[in-house]
């Protein structure tokens, strides 16, 4: 029957699109249903593009190492430019307490075999010319991390998925997830009914509502970060710079220079702003302006071109939920990425596809091990 598939994915974003690609590579007949008119129109296009493996837990580290490999080799393997830069991540440190926190974390990260180390102030200044020197103590530096264009990457994944036979239907929101005898059976949209033994919820900020359709509660609530991009400037630094000091109305912020030479920056508001609102606030630019210019005075003259606000589908402990809940066979959760869907997506895609195909490697099992729905959610991600 025409409406029968091996896997139906809800959401053509940072997770659903690379998953469709990974499944199609495994010869699965895939349908992706997306409420927006084209791929990546939810949280993906709001991501600024950082990709790092330097997290603090095994699942995210393993997943992102796989993602990094996919991003880094994409151009060579498939020919599309996705804006990949192996620029590393740099956390400059200005206070004793931040140094203590990051040095402690370093032990865990190095324990996982990650290429990350403490560097002195001179090295920080060499990596980021013009960075404020006063009180600079050094920082942590992970040269194997990097960045890519979320827009180009996602569209490259989409094109490849389509080429491999995945079917995408846009402007088609899922209204119903149908079940039979404790198994998923398919989904209903305003345009029609589709059947598959596997239905993946990759609905990003809408994940909780979509999961309600399946009768499975997931603790995903979006808050937001605001971001912006400048005009291009001659390339003058490579790393993603993360400043973890708190501001007046914000927690950390981070920025890097993309392949076009534009500075892309993002701020975590404090207190968090919960909800689905994606309209820009008047607070953002004054706050980030003061913070970024304090750190790099040379940025004062650079013109801001565009700003936006993107949603972080948060879970209580800051870790994703990627699981195959026992309550409903064939239903897959790939939700709650907490703002890291772009960097987790390609790795998760392969891990989930391997699980659906029934042949996950030990590595791929570990990738999902920390993301179970039945965990207590009482821990806290150390480095969001």
């Amino acid at each position: 029957m025409e409406n029968n598939y091996d896997v139906i994915i809800i959401g053509a974003g940072s997770i659903g699109t690379p998953l469709a690609m990974a499944l199609a590579e495994r010869k699965k007949k895939v349908l992706v249903l997306e409420a927006a008119p084209s791929p990546g129109q939810g949280q993906n296009k709001c991501a600024i593009g950082g990709v790092r493996a330097t997290h603090s837990d095994g699942s995210k580290i393993k997943t992102c190492l796989r993602s990094l490999e996919i991003f880094a080799t994409w151009h060579k393997k498939h020919g599309d430019d996705i804006g990949w830069i192996k620029g590393g991540y740099l956390f400059p440190v200005y206070t004793e307490s931040d140094e203590a926190v990051l040095r402690e974390l370093l032990k865990i990260q190095r324990g996982f075999g990650l290429n990350i180390d403490w560097i002195g102030a001179d090295k920080v200044r060499a990596l980021v010319p013009g960075i404020a020197a006063k009180d600079l103590r050094g920082g942590t530096w992970s040269p194997d991390d990097g960045s890519a264009s979320p827009l180009l990457s996602l569209n490259a994944f989409y094109r490849r998925a389509v080429k491999l036979g995945a079917e995408f239907r846009f402007s088609e929101p899922v209204k119903e997830i149908s079940k039979e005898g404790g198994r998923v059976k398919g989904v209903l949209t305003p345009q029609g009914r589709y059947y598959a033994p596997w239905v993946v919820n990759a609905a990003g900020a809408e994940a909780a509502g979509v999961s309600d359709l399946a009768g499975v509660k997931v603790p995903v609530n979006p808050d937001c970060h605001e971001a912006g991009i400048t005009e291009p400037a001659e390339r003058f630094f490579e790393p993603m710079v993360v400043d973890i000091r708190p501001g007046d109305k914000s927690k950390n912020y981070y920025f890097y220079q993309n392949r076009e030479g534009q500075i892309v920056f993002c701020l975590t508001p404090q207190p968090p702003i919960w909800g689905h609102d994606r309209r820009s606030t008047s607070e953002f630019l004054p706050e980030i302006s003061r913070r970024m210019i304090s750190l790099m005075p040379g940025l004062a003259t650079l013109k801001v071109r565009r700003t936006w606000r993107g949603l972080y589908p948060m879970t209580p402990d800051g870790f994703p939920v990627v699981d195959f809940p026992a309550a409903l066979k064939g239903y897959v959760l790939a939700v709650g990425m907490c703002g890291q869907g772009f960097m987790l997506g390609p790795g998760l895609g392969e891990a989930i596809a391997a699980h659906i195909a029934g042949s996950p490697s030990a590595d791929e099992k570990e990738m999902l091990a920390g993301f179970r729905l039945d965990r207590s959610f009482t821990g806290q991600e150390k480095l969001k």
Binding site: A36, P37, S38, P39, G40, Q41, K45, P129, G130, L151, L152, L154, N155, F170, T230, E231, P232, A233, E234, F236, G261, D277, R279, S280, T281, S282, E283, L285, P286, I288, S289, R290, M292, I293, S294, P297, G298, L299, A300, T301, L302, K303, V304, R305, R306, T307, W308
Partner: protein
Amino acid sequence: MERIKDHPVLQPEERKTIAFTFDGAPCQALEGEVISSALYANGIKIFSHNKKDSSPQGIFCANGQCAQCSVTADGLTVKSCITPVREGMKVATLRGAAVLPRTACVSEFGRPEELDVDVLIIGGGPSGLAAAAELGKLNVNTLIIDDKASFGGKLVLQTHKFFGSVEDCYAGTRGIDIAEKLEVQLKEYPSVKVWADATCLAIFSDKKAGVLRGGRYYLVRPKAVVSATGAREKSLAFPGNTLPGVYGAGAFQTLVNRDLVRPAKRLFIVGGGNVGLIAAYHALQAGIQVVGLIEALPECGGYKVHADKIKRLGVPVYTRHTIVRAAGKNELETVTIAAVDEKFKVRPGTEKNFQADTLLIAVGLSSVDEFHAQAREAGMDSFVCGDAEEIAEASAAMFSGKITAHKVLKSLGVMAAPVPQFWFDRLEVLKSRPGATKAPEAKNHSKPVYPVLHCRQEIPCNPCVTVCPKKSIKLSGDSIMNVPQFAGDCIGCFKCLLICPGLAVTIVDHRKDPANPSVALPFEIGRGLVKKGDKVRLAGWEGADLGEAEVLDVKDFKAENTLIVIVKTKPGVADLAASLKLYPAEEGVKAAADLARADDETIICRCERVSLGEIRAAIRGGMRDLNQLKAVTRAGMGACGSKTCSTLLLNVFRSEGVDLKEVTGFTRRPLFVEAPLGAFTNVKCRTEADEKASWSGF
């Protein structure tokens, strides 16, 4: 130096000359002048080279909206059209991306100043000024902002007299003079704050408008917002469309009429709407030869009096023609046009080349509606007037500003009464498109002296009726759309001739020499061009050649800035003559027929240099969401924020046979004008360059 020294309407101000350099070469500017105009005055048209493919770029919008005119000035990348030249400034061609000052020292941060007002009016053009005046009359706390150094919007570029009615919108007065009247009027209202050089960057979800005023950032909290933001010019896709020398009619009028710079010697114009027709006229007034004007439709869409006026002076108007290409090495040198069929397809073999250094694109306007949309999205009380609401003449814009102010008054609870219905009716008349054209009227009297009204198309205009001391000119019906008729006595006072915005009134006088009646012709091209005793060629109302005539007298009406040229004619010619001809039309050179349109390389997104070929390929691959198209091709991602390419992109979808209902438009996000990061905290800082120039902040 290409400066306009003599102009029939505008008087160059005496201003101090200052020195600056461009790529090291010494140049001169006038104090207060923007860099772009100073560069043009020094004969420089190429300002930058695009980052992507190094293609030369020059002036394009001259309105601070795009960034095509960017240059480096004292080490900083700036838009040359909104940045004044300073004594000793080092201006340089911008090649590629901006280079940041490596070191800078921040001495001070500030918080944006917050400001409460009842009404924020964005835009100080005709509609905004009119709205501000109405609010001021009732002492409403109003802030009106404009991104230019002086108020008036596009009125300050309009040297011609206005249409409309005298009582509603200053008909018969020149645009530049109306701007001044409106601005002066505002001084009477202490509740109206006026901010020039103040750019609205965005309206945020927390109901605040971000305004950058002379480098300081303000957050304005209005109870109501009025978007009087006017319109922006539509662009056109054809090979060579981004060559320096190809730009909008608005930019041209800015150079010529605001800054008195002569940017062209030989000008070609695309578009026969009022904007294109008036630009042609302004060019003639500036001493620029208009080589031709083309219009794709069978008739010019602008007022017939505007079209006739330029035809009479000798400008060839080609209807049912299109632009095939613009060519030149680094700047425009040749324009190729061709005739089109009913489906606007080029008729092969009709291609013609014209030498031209400047090509103006005047193919229509679209409303600047982003602030209105954002204010509404933020749940604010938001109003829109003038061109931002609907494209029409400035006369209608003023009236719409007045009506909108009254809607605001009602919404604020200042005034209980609704806006009178007859105001809306009157606005509709002022907004009217031109109506039917009547045949020239047969003469039905034998008065010795009388006006001939070469005004036969229905347009909203009545100054001649208002001004006649003998009340001998009447409209043929109740509406100001009706054409005027002469019936009664004429004393030959020239008042109707002098006030007519269309230059469509002549006075025929048999009193001195019945065998050789004299005809008084309005002439506002240049003072030194015609003198007593000259032989001139006469033109009929639509430009037909009527042979030679002798000039009997030239009268200079300084208050009206109009000359009246009195010529000696024959009885058969007297009633027909409407103007002098300035020069004979050029024919153009037949172009090679093998001009196959290599239009895949035509640039659609000029900021990011995205070609028609790339866009077509994406559409043919099934793309229907402009946001995805932007993600993949970067079209719309550049400095202008898709203001230039968004309509062009939709045209490509249309020409590919895609129903626009299937197409998702761009998601619009702030900022709507780029602004330096440091501006948002009013940063004071000094960079390396400042050690030489005394610069602090923005």
